[in-house]
Each structure stands twice: as C-alpha cells, then as structure tokens.
Amino acid sequence: MAVEEKLSFMDKYVVEKGFVKPNRRLFTIRSEHVRQVFTEFIERLGRENFYLSTIVGTDMKDEGRIRLDYYVVLLPEEETIVIRTYLPRDNPVVDSIIDLLPGALSGECETYDLLGVVFKGNSFLKRGFFIPQDLVEQDRYPLRKDSGV
C-alpha cells in the first residue's frame, strides 16, 4: 500500500499540509485530535507498522503559542511523517498518548521538563527529569525563549 493511501484517513483531521526538508510530509492537526489520530494509526496500520520517533516542542514566542511536532516513522517503507499541532503558550495542555504508545514516555517527559507542555494523563511527568534543581525551584522552563536561561 502506498503511503498516501495509508494516510488517507488523516484527511478529516488535517488543517494544513506541507513539507519539512528533506521531503518529510507534514500534517497540521488541531491539538484536541492528537489522541484520535494516534488511535486511528494503531487501528489502521497496526502497532508493528509504525513507531514514534521523537516529539519536538518549539516555543513560538512571537506567535504566542507552542508548536508540538510528533515524528512518526512508517514501516516497512521507513518513511518519516510529521504530525504538527499548536498549543496556546499560556496554557499548553494536550492529551497524553503514553497509554496508546509507551514509546512516547521519553519524549513527553522531556518536553514537559524543558518546555512546560502538560501531557494530560501521563503520570510519569515530573520536573527535574533532566534539568537541575535550582531551575525547578524557580519554576523556569529552559527552552522557553523568555526563560532567561
């Protein structure tokens, strides 16, 4: 099955399509759909036919929002696609997918610790997973552009 065909179910969620260099398909979706999209991934592709490679959070300070990218690798073609969503900067909350994909543990814990994105439903989130205690006490998130770190 071609990759386009495999991903045709995404159409109902996609707000915008694009590319990240070099040739990674980019699908922008609404943040409330993240869980549904990954549920459909598992239902339609099967757990053995894709894996979550990484979660990249970026602080878009000028736009007042935080961008969250899920990099998913489809198997057996091994093609990387990007599922992008935006969260409001003052209240960045998104549903956790850790119960669907245990592999999200490392990415979610890191994004929470460094950027302050709350993954609702992930009980493993904690400050200080990576960053030193003094920053935790000051309640600062180092990767925020105005953190002063």
Binding site: K21, R24, R47, V56, Y71, E78, P102, F129, I131, P132
Partner: protein
C-alpha cells in the same frame, strides 16, 4: 506469601541518554526492585548531567554549533556532526561532492566498527570474560588508528563540514588504511565465532531480555536492538543519505530478540562495515576537493526547517534544525539520540529476570560503557547495605554464584 525483603539496586551509570550526553560523563539511575532473585520493577532516572546543548546551540551560530554538536557524544561524534551538517545543507541547498560523501561514510563506518567492538568487549567483561575484553580492546586500537588517519583525531574528529569534510586522504593514507582493515577482519571473524560458540557466553546471554517485534515498535526502540528482534529499521537503507545509495551493504537482522542476538547483530554489522570501508577505499571518487572553502560558505541562513536522520551505532539519531532567517543563530535545535529511547523506554525489559541479568540486558542495549559505577544492595530485614561494582555484579562473585542474603 508476603514479600519479606526488597533489594533496591540503584545503578549510577554514565550513558549517552537524552540530547545532552557527553559520552563518558553522564549518569543515569536504574533503580531496580527485586523480590528475591527476581526483578519486579525498574525505575529509570536521568538528568544528572544535563548540559543544555539544545539551548547552547540556540545561543551560538550555525557554524559554531558543528563543534558543539561534536561534543554531545565522544563515541559517536561523526554521526552527530553528520546529521547536523546535513540539516544545514538542506536549509542552504548545498550539496557536497562525491568524494566528500564517500569520505563521510568512511569516517562514520570506522566509528561504527569501534563502537560495536567496544560494547561487545564490555559485554565480555560484564559476564566475567576479562581476557576476551582485553583482546577485543587491543584490536579495537587498529580502528582508532584508522580513524585518526582519516579524520586527524582518535576520538573527537570534528570531521564534518557544511559542503564537505575537513580533511582529504592521499594514497599513502589509503594504503595504511587498507593494511589496518585487512588485519582487523580475521580478528573480528574470530571474535564473532567466540560469541557464537563459547558456552559461557551463550549461557549468560541467550533468552535474556527477549523483545518481541511489537514491543520494539510500540516502545520506539531503535538500531541493533530493533534489528535483533526482526524489525528491519536502518536509516542508511531508507534515507540513503551521503554515499549510502552507491555503497552496497546488507541490513543485518535476526529473529531471536534476546541479548545474544543483539550482540551478534553488532558483530555482523562490524563485518558489513569492514566490507564498506574496503569498497570505499577501492572506489573513492576523484571529483574534486572534498574540503570546501570556508570563506565561500553562505553567512546568512534563509528561513527554513530540516529534519535529518542518521544511523548511529546505537540506532536512528535525529536532528531537527530550524532557522527563522533573522540572524546567525538557529531558532531551535532538537537532538534525539537513540539511547534516549533505548534506555528510558525499556524499564519493562528487566522485569522477571534475575539480578545478574540486569547488567547483561543493559549492556546489550549499548549504553555508554564507562557507566560502570556502583550498586547498592539493601537488605531490609538485616538493615545492611552492601556495595558492589557493576562488574562484580555482572560477572564476579555476585554473578557466578547463586546470590543470597
């Protein structure tokens, strides 16, 4: 029957986990809880040496970051720099020439050989096979020498550069490399045979830490760990970056999925890498100088984003680089190292195994080796604290004798 004692085993290890991992100086804590011999729970704690490299990259220019990136990990600095440099090239639309692409692969494959030999040597040491450890490390020196000939340094290569590499090789160097590699091949074949046939190794590794393919994909495990469970993931074969589209190689997979299979995959990959190195030395193209003129490189970066993957020794390594087009510094650099997934997401693998299996499983996942620090064994009933080194736990009296308190 109620549980009467808990043995708490906090490992303080230095492994390249997360985006900030100076290969030899980052500790991670695996806190294992055992009921008698059996491990019932493992907590993984990180962050003891977070250097904030992603933030540091945002504060420095695109070109300076190449050198910062090289310091993320000592063992695999060439692959790190390669992924980052290729992300910059994608943003700038720069393409290196063929000779540079081949030389990049040469450096990366030499790195793969020495890294795989290192972790196999450590595995031998962990299960108490000290002589094998010494021998593999001795032969590994040949690869370190070869890497020095190519890149100019045994460890910190700083070899990659936007649009090419930093040094070329001539015929004299090429002959030296050929000689070193031809001496290495029979040794590797011998060590592979030892791992295949030695009874002690088989007893300690087979059926330990077995991973099903579905566990691999749902936990996002990568590299030799995935390939040993029959999941054919290899960025070299899928992305075909640099010269991997022209150099022939096989993706090694096995179906056993245990610690032994992971080590055997590594040996087979070393042999593949030796073939690739020989091919490169034979067919190295001569289409110009692989070292670009630094003065002619673009100073200003256009807005754009790139996501590159590279098959590091431990699995898929990814870089995300974003330029906002406003300055000399990247807006965002995100590094996801293979150990980040392989170590943090594998707490489930230890459950049900015995304490001496713990270092075997951990080593088979290929964390960084100098990780070997100390383990504390706490007996709740007698309120006594024992301290033993991981080496002893793996292969010494704690490993070879049935362990009891």
């Amino acid at each position: 029957m109620a549980v009467t004692k808990i043995i708490e085993v906090p490992f303080t290890l230095e492994i390249p986990v997360g985006p900030q991992h100076p290969a030899l100086h980052e500790p991670v804590l695996l806190k294992a809880y055992a009921d008698g011999e059996e491990i019932v729970k493992v907590d993984i704690n990180t962050g003891y040496n977070h250097r904030g490299i992603e933030k540091l990259c945002e504060k420095n220019s695109f070109y300076r970051d190449i050198f910062i990136i090289g310091r993320v990990c000592g063992i695999c600095n060439a692959v790190h720099a390669n992924a980052y440099v290729r992300a910059l090239e994608a943003i700038l639309d720069v393409t290196p020439n063929n000779r540079a692409r081949y030389l990049r692969v040469l450096a990366m494959e030499l790195e793969r050989i020495h890294s795989h030999m290192l972790i196999n040597a450590v595995m031998a040491e962990n299960i108490g096979f000290e002589a094998l450890f010494m021998n593999i490390m001795l032969d590994r020196e040949k690869v370190m020498k070869a890497k020095e000939i190519v890149t100019g340094a045994r460890v910190m290569a700083d070899y990659m550069m936007v649009g090419g590499v930093r040094r070329d090789i001539d015929d004299v160097k090429r002959d030296k490399l050929r000689k070193l590699i031809s001496e290495l091949r029979p040794r590797v074949e011998y060590y592979r045979k030892v791992f295949e046939e030695d009874e002690t190794i088989l007893k300690r590794l087979i059926d330990v830490g077995r991973l099903k393919p579905v566990d691999v994909t749902s936990h996002g495990l990568l590299g030799p760990v995935a390939r040993a469970s029959g999941v054919k993931i290899d960025t070299r074969a899928s992305d075909r970056y640099d010269a991997y589209n022209e150099i022939p190689f096989d993706v090694v997979t096995r179906n056993e999925g245990d610690s032994w299979a992971r080590m055997m995959v590594r040996w087979d990959e070393v042999l593949e890498a030796i073939n690739m190195v020989e091919y490169i030395l034979e067919k190295l193209p001569s289409d110009g100088n692989p070292v670009p003129d630094e003065k002619k490189l673009p100073r200003k970066f256009p807005p754009g984003e790139a996501y590159t993957r590279v098959e590091a020794q431990r699995g898929e390594l990814t870089y995300y680089v974003m330029s906002d087009g406003k300055g000399m510094n990247p807006y965002r650099v995100k590094i996801r190292t293979p150990s980040f997934n392989n170590i943090i997401n594998t707490g489930f693998m230890y459950i049900g195994h015995t304490i001496p299996d713990l270092p075997v499983i951990l080593t088979s996942l290929d964390p960084c080796i100098s990780c070997m620090e100390r383990v504390t064994v706490v007996d709740l009933e007698k309120n006594i604290v024992y301290k033993v080194s991981l080496k002893e736990l793996g292969g010494g009296k704690w490993g070879s004798r049935r362990y009891s308190i």
